[in-house]
Symmetry: C2
Subunit: 136 residues, 2 copies
């Protein structure tokens, strides 16, 4: 496991108090977090600061964002070695009941044969349903 300092250094992001605590929080969660989720944890930190932190992280491939259909962007730490290329794709699972979003790293995404002359650059794959906790 890399330390927070190492991750930021590798991804060329200056270390600050806010960045450390945001990244620590993201690493500690098994589910993708929204800006609001993070706000609720870092109550003394301004929303826009967290927002800009997330944008910086995303630009530098520290995290990736997920559109899960909840209306709020979610963020999750990139796996080690991830470059957010199509090859690094994974499914996301959104629970309709508890509204949490999981990264399904273990399920490979099929190779998609696009129509002629279409070119893939990224993808956003979200499966929705009930998570193991809510499917009872």
């Amino acid at each position: 496991m890399q330390t927070i300092e190492e991750i930021l250094k590798i991804k060329k992001v200056n270390n600050t108090a806010i960045r450390t605590v945001v990244l620590r929080h993201l690493l500690s969660q098994e589910k993708a977090q929204s800006l609001k989720d993070i706000e609720n944890v870092l109550v003394h930190t301004d929303r826009s600061s967290i927002f800009r932190t997330l944008k910086t992280f995303e630009k530098n491939k520290v995290i990736h964002s997920i559109e899960d259909g909840s209306g709020m962007l979610k963020y999750a730490v990139c796996a080690k070695g991830c470059n957010c290329d199509p090859k690094d794709l994974h499914y996301h699972f959104y629970c309709n009941n508890c509204n949490k979003t999981f990264c399904l790293f273990d399920i490979p995404v099929q190779n998609i044969e696009l129509p002629d002359n279409f070119k893939i650059q990224q993808a956003n794959m979200v499966v929705k349903g009930l998570c193991n906790n809510c499917n009872k």
Copy 2:
């Protein structure tokens, strides 16, 4: 090809002038339409009326909505026989250049093996890149 009246009747949606023209527009487009797209065509119709029309259509499975990451929900007419179940899934393609969203009905979606006790209900699969028009 079913007529607009037939579709609405089958899906148990009362026919009105607005509903007819909204559905006709959606059927005439090969790309999924946003609320704003439709507003721009039906300039004399109120936004909220179009909005409620779309919600009614969606509830009754006349259309389905797509989160393509553009920030605007897109809507497309369901294929004949579609019930918006997992088995009716298809990929969507969002063009990063011209911002249009296509339904890729012809590409089958693989069966996804979820972790134990996870249950799929719907999915939103969006591939992003360049469409055939923009990939030059």
